[in-house]
Symmetry: C2
Subunit: 334 residues, 2 copies
């Protein structure tokens, strides 16, 4: 009998209900959720003892490979992954993405292949085909978080759609001179997610017949980088756009701070829209596309646990929900 | 032969040099650092094979217990711990601090005691004596990060001194009406670190004969909470202080944003000083007390590894360096 089936049987619910309850999403009653979590813990307790572990080959450990958590998205995602693994009594073994290519090679060639995990969650690492091959192996499923997920199950938002919706919101308000803050800076490779967001921005402009107006102010997805890029973009009054789509909320908040410093009123002289719904978005009255990295963490664990349970499940890509949240950083152009 | 001695012998350096090189601090040449790191990895590779692990009882895994990493301090600290453990080829098993008391009990009573680690780093958890007893055991040293470290080795800044220096900076500039933003809000227990910072603030006021001017605007150590507390503190023009000491940079930046919204010029009408030197401190021209949580992470790993190596080493408390960084959020009162 499979693991989720075990839990379901012990809790007296269907396999589908057990799966939903364990994923941390809100489709089951609190009472059922508690019963399922208790059943999972009781079973995990048994699985955790060394003797059982040796017998079954289970380690009750999930490897998580992710970039530094000094950005909101990664910190929230990690919290979601932690919550779900804790509820299921799995240990979380955390690996950073080293910056140098030699340490990256050490991680993929030497460390991860020889560690024993029941499964791996790989976040934002854009692995090469070769690296994927080293990560994946029979009986050790891999779930990605992010758009670069050929050959694995994965969770991500639809980056193209998110940027397209953000750009269309500005077009609907009457803007035609809309710049994009984010994407390549010459400092490093463009992340695939950022590239897809630029694609969404360009697609919306193209559909509206505004393709000639496209311009991208390169910026890393951080507040400081967004600030610097925006200062460059906004300093010349004659070439100033009336609106900005930022690659993420941190870059959008950096843009708002830059506009204030330059004496440019938001939204009357400049509209700004971000992507994330960062914890500080409300404080800056930022119009944005909301995503929930915490829920993406729950979803990644659910996909992984289902595949540890049944390795023959098909590859699944979950597109996490995202929706426009209008606050007061956007308005019609003057 | 002990582990650091093994590494030192293999690298052809002294034990003290090996220890410094492994801690990631800058007192050894790059060439030596590389040689020591290579030696540590070669030895760890051997230690990592299951057969050796079973024979020695070593797991090459360090348990790290810490609050959610959605704050700059914890994200940076985790990065420092990750760097050092990666260099030494230790795995990092991450545990969050659950919010509910029942899940906290599960963590301390049931999960951590039965997992096998070579050592534990406990960050900001203010464990009870009973919890400490459950965490510590022969052959599994514990290192704390934070001020609440009776009975364990630990790394922290001197919170009292940090807040005292920040307050004295304002007194030296001529301020006498200085408020503190941070500490208890009635919403939860006051963290010991925040309490010590209030002590430092009060001590500086007392020495300057300004004890009667003390007032604390309660705030969690976050940007949003600092913003809200500052709005309450600054809204009434007649009772407005001329300067604010914030419990951390996030609360200080929230205070600066609140001042701007209220039309209060920083620093001419209000001086603001923080504690941290957060990555955004420079963008907000914030005068602050600099600490390096990343270095504290390196130091915590070094203390732990030394104690895994030699359990008889005495308890050691490292006070991490902190220094006043004057930018332009502070000035003499008008």
């Amino acid at each position: 009998m499979s693991k989720i089936a075990d839990v379901a049987a012990r809790a007296g619910v269907s396999k589908a209900t057990a799966s939903r309850a364990l994923s941390g999403r809100g489709y089951v009653s609190e009472e059922t959720r508690t019963r399922v979590a208790d059943a999972a813990r009781e079973l995990a307790y048994v699985a955790h003892s060394s003797a059982t572990s040796l017998a079954t080959g289970r380690t009750q450990t999930v490897g998580v490979v992710m970039p530094p958590v000094d950005r909101w998205f990664f910190a929230e995602l990690l919290a979601g992954i932690q919550d779900s693994l804790f509820a299921l009594d799995y240990d979380l073994s955390l690996y950073g993405i080293p910056e140098g290519s030699d340490t990256r090679e050490r991680l993929f060639e030497s460390i991860l292949p020889r560690r024993r995990f029941d499964g791996i969650i790989a976040v934002g690492i854009q692995p090469s085909a070769h690296e994927l091959e080293r990560l994946q192996r029979p009986g050790r499923p891999l779930v990605g978080v992010g758009p670069y997920s050929d050959g694995t199950s994965a969770v991500s938002i639809d980056d193209v759609a998110a940027a397209r919706i953000a750009t269309e919101h500005l077009i609907d308000l009457g803007h035609s001179d809309i710049a994009f803050v984010g994407g390549t800076t010459g400092a490093g490779p463009l992340s695939l997610g950022d590239e897809l967001r630029i694609d969404g921005y360009l697609a919306a402009l193209g559909t509206a017949g505004l393709a000639d107006h496209a311009r991208v102010a390169g910026s890393a997805p951080t507040l400081s980088a967004g600030y610097s890029a925006a200062v460059g973009l906004l300093a010349d009054r004659r070439r100033r756009p009336t609106a900005v789509v930022a690659v993420c909320d941190e870059a959008a908040i950096g843009t708002i701070i830059a506009a204030r410093r330059l004496g440019i009123a938001v939204p009357t002289e400049l509209s700004v829209v971000g992507i994330d719904d960062h914890e500080h978005a409300e404080l800056f009255a930022l119009t944005t596309i909301r995503q929930s990295p915490r829920d993406q963490g729950h979803d990644a664990v659910r996909l992984l646990v289902e595949r540890m349970d049944d390795p023959d499940l098909p590859e699944t890509h979950l597109a996490a929900a995202s929706a426009l949240v209008v606050r007061s950083s956007t308005a019609a152009p003057r």
